[in-house]
Symmetry: C2
Subunit: 294 residues, 2 copies
DNA sequence: CTCGACCGATACCCTGGTGATATGGATCAT
DNA sequence: ATGATCCATATCACCAGGGTATCGGTCGAG
């Protein structure tokens, strides 16, 4: 009848995600027997069966699924408490801005120049790392490209531009003026979309997503094509790579996002500054120089 | 650099709220020295000073205030995980409805009669207990009277009616047909409003709020007056107590509320049922029988 | 059908985290 | 000056929580 400890939740989440006590124990850096015991004690404590163990596999009960969902939320909240507190204790207060390098549509220098409320610390994370950083309190505000999971966040759009396809300049499709998604079907590497659960096994090392240089190398030799917002295309314009509009491709919106219940004046001022800078920036309405470079 | 445990957060919240290690330890059912050590270790772990100890008082640093806020949220999320899981493990699924007895405007029987998705378990709590029950997962849905703290909740209004003042029939003010708030200033017991932090010491035992019978006894002998929604007045109409409208008193709205991110079909159906029942119920537009009983 | 591989549970041991007691040192009220 | 108050330190004890060895049940290969 005692209180739950985060250790119990971490253990359960590991087992539930791995569906395997041995791997979960390995991931947690411990042996399997104490983990089994911890899960059994947790079930006793809650008075609920969480897992169905056949000697061959482990499956979640409905109650177990509930706990998995809720425990993720709770662990996130605990991590947030720690991260926010660590940050609040720094003697030099700062605004922590999470973004992916080159995904700022060129606005970043102007925003940083115009924002003088606090010093800004940049957290340059890879693809999809901005969202968790906002959620667990490592970042105060983030620049992200739509679409993203907006639950728990407030956001304001900054600037919108078309998405283009990047392909080898030598690609036969590059000769066409108009492309459709169907023309490009099957040409994308599986990394093209965020890693989902049940991520299908890619042909080679799935652990490390490709960085920009790697991606553009593959594009240049015709191994893949890539969808990307116009501001990224602009930054990576080079001979050997052609950018073309695609009819059905939704435009991308660069967005500033922050935790929903943030009442920080520094964040609010940053958002206003970013919006003002975005308004003063020319929209992406002329693709001619990019699609037809000299 | 390890993970935070809820035990550490509970300890810190106790100390921060009591501003006193001894009382906090007592509240936690432990001795003071291990509590002091736990807080010191927590500060080491976070690398942040949380409390300023003079040998006379304990005060929060800004980082400590941050942790207090965040830890409350995190502890709530952990409690929610446990409560929701316990509930999901019950073999008889049920909808848990939190409300205060008599605060249903007479809708409850009709709602329960019309709602057939799940059996309904009533959680009859005292004043202000509905909100925490929703937040920590003990209840799926609640009936509450506006105003209440809507953060983290979704809600739909059911029925609106005026608030009245209840006073002794013998009270000189009962002879008047029109009352204003100023006429009643200072006549309310301090229990009239929810307990805030820094709750001023009431004249007698502050621990247990008064129940309805106690309140109406005090009203009947002229010791206090009371503001209450018309549906409560209706239920407690009796000789010896007079109900009068008060000009500036905002009307009350009986509301059905549920956790914001609930995607439960059972809750959604309950809300629809409650709204339909409320629409079919006569509004409170004729106060004559209540104010001028036979 | 049999045997080996796999996987979770059980039994048992041991260490360190967590709690208790005793006491010190600092501050404030009288 | 002296006692009261209150947090920190020192020290001890216990068991919660982690490790190793092993068991028992299930599935698949041959």
């Amino acid at each position: 009848m005692d209180h739950l400890e985060t250790r119990q939740l971490r253990y359960f989440v590991a087992v539930a995600e791995e569906q395997h006590f041995g791997r979960a124990a390995q991931r947690l850096g411990m042996a399997q027997p104490p983990l089994s015991r911890a899960i059994r004690d947790l079930e006793r404590q809650l008075g609920v069966q969480l897992l169905v163990r056949t000697s061959r596999r482990v499956a979640l009960t409905p109650a177990g699924q509930t706990l998995l969902d809720e425990a993720r939320i709770a662990l996130d909240a605990v991590a947030t408490a720690g991260n926010r507190t660590r940050h609040a204790g720094q003697d030099v207060p700062a605004l922590r801005l999470a973004l992916k390098a080159d995904h700022d549509a060129g606005l970043l220098p102007k925003i940083l120049d115009a924002y003088d409320v606090l010093p800004v610390r940049l957290l340059l994370g890879g693809y999809g790392e901005q969202l968790p950083a906002l959620h667990d309190g490592r970042a105060d505000v983030a620049l992200m490209t739509t679409p993203f999971d907006e639950r728990g966040l407030d956001s304001e759009p900054l600037i919108t531009g078309p998405r283009l396809v990047a392909m080898a300049a030598s690609d036969p499709l590059a000769a066409r003026t108009s492309l459709r998604l169907a023309d490009l079907a099957g040409r994308l590497l599986p990394y093209g979309t965020p890693a989902e659960k049940g991520f299908p096994k890619p042909p080679f090392d799935p652990h490390e997503p490709l960085d920009h240089s790697q991606i553009f190398s593959l594009i240049e030799v015709g191994s893949t094509v890539w969808y990307l917002p116009v501001w990224l295309a602009e930054r990576f314009a080079r001979p050997g790579i052609a950018y073309r509009p695609v009819e059905e491709l939704e435009p991308a919106t660069l967005t500033v996002a922050w935790p929903a219940r943030s009442r920080s004046a520094a964040v609010a001022a940053f958002v206003r500054t970013a919006q003002r800078v975005a308004r003063e920036t020319a929209p992406y309405d002329n693709l001619f120089p990019l699609v037809h470079p000299v």
